[in-house]
């Protein structure tokens, strides 16, 4: 069975390490915050200017002056801090934020990512994505393996305008966990019940497959 969006988030949460500063993008990445492993302390940064982001507020407690980068109402955790946008991106560009999880429309085997524009169709803008991918030490992409037409989003070369070059380290999809190596995508894990053959079929890029590929543990 291919994973659903929550399960992709659950798998990515296993990459979190104690005392990490993490920036989560909009969409599936936001869900990662729901699956922080027991005993691990994480501080979430939101690029509009908050570190120590907490869960959504209780009904009636929403504050228009307290939102995340997805413009959703949020709360803050004890020890949280607020800052302006330039300081926020100093944390990001300066590599003080250690892990970035974001969504993508395409990822290529050299680690390029495309997620901000479909020429002539969708032009919402890159927001903070270009700054994030240009600087983060560790970038994990959370996305579906194929688009709604069944076409692979894991490519030899991105076809859409790219957001950043050679930056993605790992990709977690509904079918597989892939590592971006110097030689291309290496298949690390497969979703429970999904065969290596099925993953190869759904992937345009070449996959490096070494030894037995184990099922993901959630």
């Amino acid at each position: 069975m291919a994973l659903d969006k929550n399960q992709i988030a659950q798998r990515i949460a296993k990459e979190l390490k104690h005392n990490m500063y993490v920036n989560l993008g909009i969409g599936i990445p936001t869900l990662v915050a729901n699956y922080i492993p027991e005993g691990i302390d994480i501080e979430f940064q939101s690029e509009n200017g908050v570190l120590g982001m907490g869960p959504f507020p209780f009904e009636g407690d929403e504050d228009p002056d307290m939102i995340n980068a997805g413009k959703q109402t949020i709360t803050t955790m004890p020890g949280a801090v607020i800052f302006d946008s330039a300081l926020s991106f100093s944390m990001i560009r300066g590599q003080h934020v250690q892990l970035t999880v974001l969504g993508a429309m395409e990822v290529s085997e050299n680690g390029d990512i495309a997620n901000w524009k479909i020429p002539g169709k969708m032009v919402k803008g890159m927001g903070g994505a270009m700054d994030l991918v240009a600087s983060a030490e560790n970038i994990i992409v959370a996305m579906m393996h194929t688009n709604r037409f069944g076409e692979s989003k894991i490519l030899k070369k991105c076809t859409l305008p790219i957001t950043g070059v050679k930056c993605v380290k790992k990709v977690v999809t509904n079918l597989a966990v892939l590592e971006v190596t110097k030689k291309g995508f290496k298949l690390l894990e497969r979703a429970s019940g999904v065969s290596v053959e099925e993953i190869k079929k759904a992937t345009e890029a070449e996959l490096i497959i070494e030894g037995e590929i184990l099922e993901m543990k959630l």
Partner: protein, 232 residues
């Protein structure tokens, strides 16, 4: 103490003209100078270049100026959530310069700080790097981004004193302190305007030197774009 308080919004907006460049603080609808924007939408000024992280929604924030076709060019990082914006952009009526959010923030900061340009890794290898100088520092390529300034910067703070000192609340701070620095004339609207001496100098976010005029906003709607809650 230099008194920056003005009598009314009319006086606050003195000097604005068509074809000027304006900066607007805010992220989404949080921390936007909503009273000033409303007033600008009543003015017969057109051909504006607006620098703002976002472009408001259809009937609120900068969406109001877009609707009246007062804006010629938008400089932003993210412009979703606005159908009229998308229509004007795709039809070519509106010129749009999309730039990475961190570069936008730093370009405003630089504009106010007397730094004409800087190198950043953001956007290297992408279409936004076209025509920009590239330099390698620490084995990593960077692109040259130039500072931004504006004829007028419109910003929103929570509290301010008549000397123009400002304190923001929560994440409505965002671009406001940076744009306050980058305006040739910076006009701040605040929820509460207090006499000089009422704010603790240790707690001020934007020093009054960056603010030329200050006014208490008449009414704050403070719309929420994405109301997300959990059950009690």
């Amino acid at each position: 103490m230099i008194n920056k308080a003005v009598k009314n919004i009319e006086e606050a907006l003195r000097g604005i003209e068509s074809n000027m460049t304006f900066m607007f603080g805010g992220f989404g609808l949080s921390g936007i100078p909503e009273n000033i924007i409303k007033e600008l939408s009543k003015k017969e000024i057109f051909g504006l270049t607006c620098i703002s992280n976002n472009a408001g929604v259809d009937d609120f924030g900068l969406g109001m100026l877009l609707k009246k076709k007062q804006i010629k060019k938008m400089i932003s990082s993210y412009v979703g959530e606005n159908a009229e914006f998308e229509r004007q952009m795709l039809s070519g009526e509106l010129e749009v310069d999309l730039i990475p959010q961190g570069s936008l923030a730093e370009r405003c900061r630089a504009g106010g700080a007397g730094i004409p340009a800087f190198f950043t890794p953001a956007g290297f290898g992408t279409e936004i790097a076209k025509g920009k100088e590239v330099r390698v520092y620490d084995k990593k390529p960077h692109i040259l981004e130039t500072a931004l300034t504006a004829d007028f910067s419109f910003i929103k703070a929570w509290k301010g004193d008549v000397a123009g000192n400002l304190i923001y609340k929560g994440t409505s701070r965002n671009f406001n302190p940076l744009m306050a620095m980058a305006g040739k004339v910076t006009i701040a609207e605040v929820e509460e305007l207090v006499p000089a001496g009422d704010l603790d100098p240790n707690q001020i976010h934007t020093p009054g030197i960056f603010v030329q005029r200050i006014i208490q906003g008449e009414k704050y709607e403070k719309r929420i774009e994405q109301r997300t809650v959990r059950k009690r």
